[in-house]
Symmetry: C2
Subunit: 354 residues, 2 copies
């Protein structure tokens, strides 16, 4: 990775070269920073706005845009690379999916990097390539960025913040407060894959399992819902805290009771086994490529059909319904026919997973 | 700061209480995270979008908006509190000022927090109060946020990413590539205050100096320029890397030579003294409340007049001009009448200042 240095032409701003690991000067804002951007970041990110080199991207909205969605997420996952993805893919998909939950068309991402002194440039490039590929799949542009460097021991290799902006088409505006009694609760696929893939990748407990993160951009599912289920009430991605936490949030925002049917919740057997072995509840484990979709009963079948045919939607399932208004509660009808209350995740089941 | 705990009503989602320092569970996404948000963050941030509790803010654009500006900055300053400001004020003002440099009206901010386990909640509250106050002064709303927690020793107390969105009115679109020969180069005030205030606050070299950071939101200056100098070519805030680096970037983007007059560059005597003592060049030290304004010569006087009357503009000075096109270069006419080439900052003069 080492570039040849050029100390000859002192009269022009030098395109600073970079060593093969991050040094403090890469965060100075001076020639080492611009060298890192030109020689490393620019190999992967090419949007017009970024190439203009201004401190803010100047972006044209599609004609007639009346509303935008804005979201942010910092990513601190450990390890940085895991089966099915890495921090870069996570940073892009997480923010894209959050925009989708507002009914938005994801368009533009920002990328803020906090690098620890000594982080290998080669690993940074792997992450950037992953961000480039995920952004291409999700149809978003990285339009502005920021790079900071902390001293060795003051970070953990690499943290990435991505913020996102999307445009909201008229007439499709799901929100957490819109769930109504009678609505169907749909889950786009299996639970717990991301959290358990990252956990196993740490290797702390010596558990070897064939589990791959589900991290993925879910644009196609939401695009399909726009026409198939135009009255979709709620979209939410059950990330940190898992399905239980996300549904409890929705139950509170909408002031409704949600009843789930345990037998219909899809969970891969490998994930279920590892969770059982370790005492984790898969309903509170993080997902990074799943959506909760709450729709009027009349649009339930149409929604299930289009999701099943969309990328990342093959395992879609109808998992429950909104029963009554007035009491924010999530209950689970177990395989034995009993009911139990599903609470939010409490405490820190799995830190540093996203 | 300790709240009383309530373990009695298990049938409803508990508003989780928080201890007086950050714990890993605050980043889990579950009830401890929502407790921290409700009991700490919500005391300071109140926008409608934030209160809706969705993963993305759904925002109405002013009618007729055709373009938006988007920017991001992660803030890693050490120490977190310094004369004139703190990481919270910095995080808001830095992003607001970046939006302003695109000619935008700053409107919405995101806030992403990376907390280190053990960080005192009391200090977090001071930072949040500072963000609230700076956002109010700058006329922006914090519309969505994210909180992550890293294990002790994997962070440095608190990192904050702020991303910003502004709307760009028609007809005023400065950009780094627009400087033209004949243009006047204006600086809104004194150089080096922020960088040297933070440096002295570290106390590493035992230097005691009466230097206060200039960190401030510069909306009023840009608002005044919209009417007084509608053909403003370039706006840029000389943050990391200072004036020299920012002007070199502009010289490259516009492919022009910029000539500065050393005697006209305002620098406080305390800042000049400390810089001289330590061998720093104040032209490469970071500022957080200053703007470089490049305008056609015909609008120079009008620009100087309105900036001088605006908040944070009293020390405005005409510091140079754009001389020729075709060669990206920044030169300084010294007090002795000689010329020297001003380069970007190279290496790491002052890490962790913003």
């Amino acid at each position: 990775m080492t570039e040849s240095y050029n100390f000859e032409n002192f009269s022009c701003p030098l395109p600073a070269s970079h060593p093969d690991a991050v040094i403090l000067g890469h965060g100075s804002g001076g020639s080492l920073t611009s060298g890192l951007i030109r020689q490393v970041f620019n190999k992967y990110f090419h949007s017009d706005a970024l190439m203009q080199g201004n401190d803010a991207a100047n972006l044209a909205l599609p004609a007639g845009t009346g509303r935008i969605a804005v979201t942010t997420d910092s990513h601190i996952v450990s390890p940085l690379f895991f089966p099915g993805g890495d921090i870069g893919k996570l940073a892009v998909c997480g923010t894209v999916n959050d925009l989708l939950t507002a009914g938005a068309v994801p368009r533009w991402l920002t990328a803020g990097f906090i690098l620890e002194e000594g982080f290998p440039i080669e690993r940074l490039e792997l992450v950037l390539a992953s961000m480039r590929d995920s952004a291409a799949e999700a149809g978003v542009e990285i339009v502005t960025g920021d790079t900071k460097v902390v001293e060795r021991g003051k970070g953990d290799g690499l943290f990435i913040n991505t913020s996102g902006v999307g445009t909201i088409p008229d007439g499709f505006q799901p929100g957490g407060a819109n769930a109504q009694p009678g609505d169907a609760v749909i889950l786009s696929g299996t639970l717990g894959d991301h959290g358990m893939a990252v956990f196993c990748a740490r290797g702390e407990l010596g558990i070897q399992a064939d589990i791959t993160s589900d991290v993925a951009p879910l644009n196609a599912i939401v695009d399909a819902l726009r026409s198939a289920a135009p009255h979709t009430h709620v979209l939410r991605d059950p990330t940190r805290g898992g399905l239980s936490t996300a549904l409890n949030e929705i139950a509170e925002q909408s002031n409704v009771t949600i009843e789930l049917n345990e037998a219909s919740i899809p969970i891969r057997s490998e994930v279920a086994s590892v969770c059982e072995m370790l005492g984790f509840d898969p309903l509170t484990v993080a997902n990074e490529g799943k959506l909760i979709i709450i729709v009027p009963d009349a649009e339930k079948e149409a929604a299930l059909n289009v999701i099943r045919q969309a990328p990342y939607g093959a395992q879609v399932a109808l998992i429950g319904r909104v029963t009554t208004a007035g009491k924010p509660l999530v209950t689970l009808r177990t395989a034995l026919g009993t009911h139990r209350i599903l609470d939010r995740l409490s405490g820190e089941m799995l830190p540093r997973i996203c």
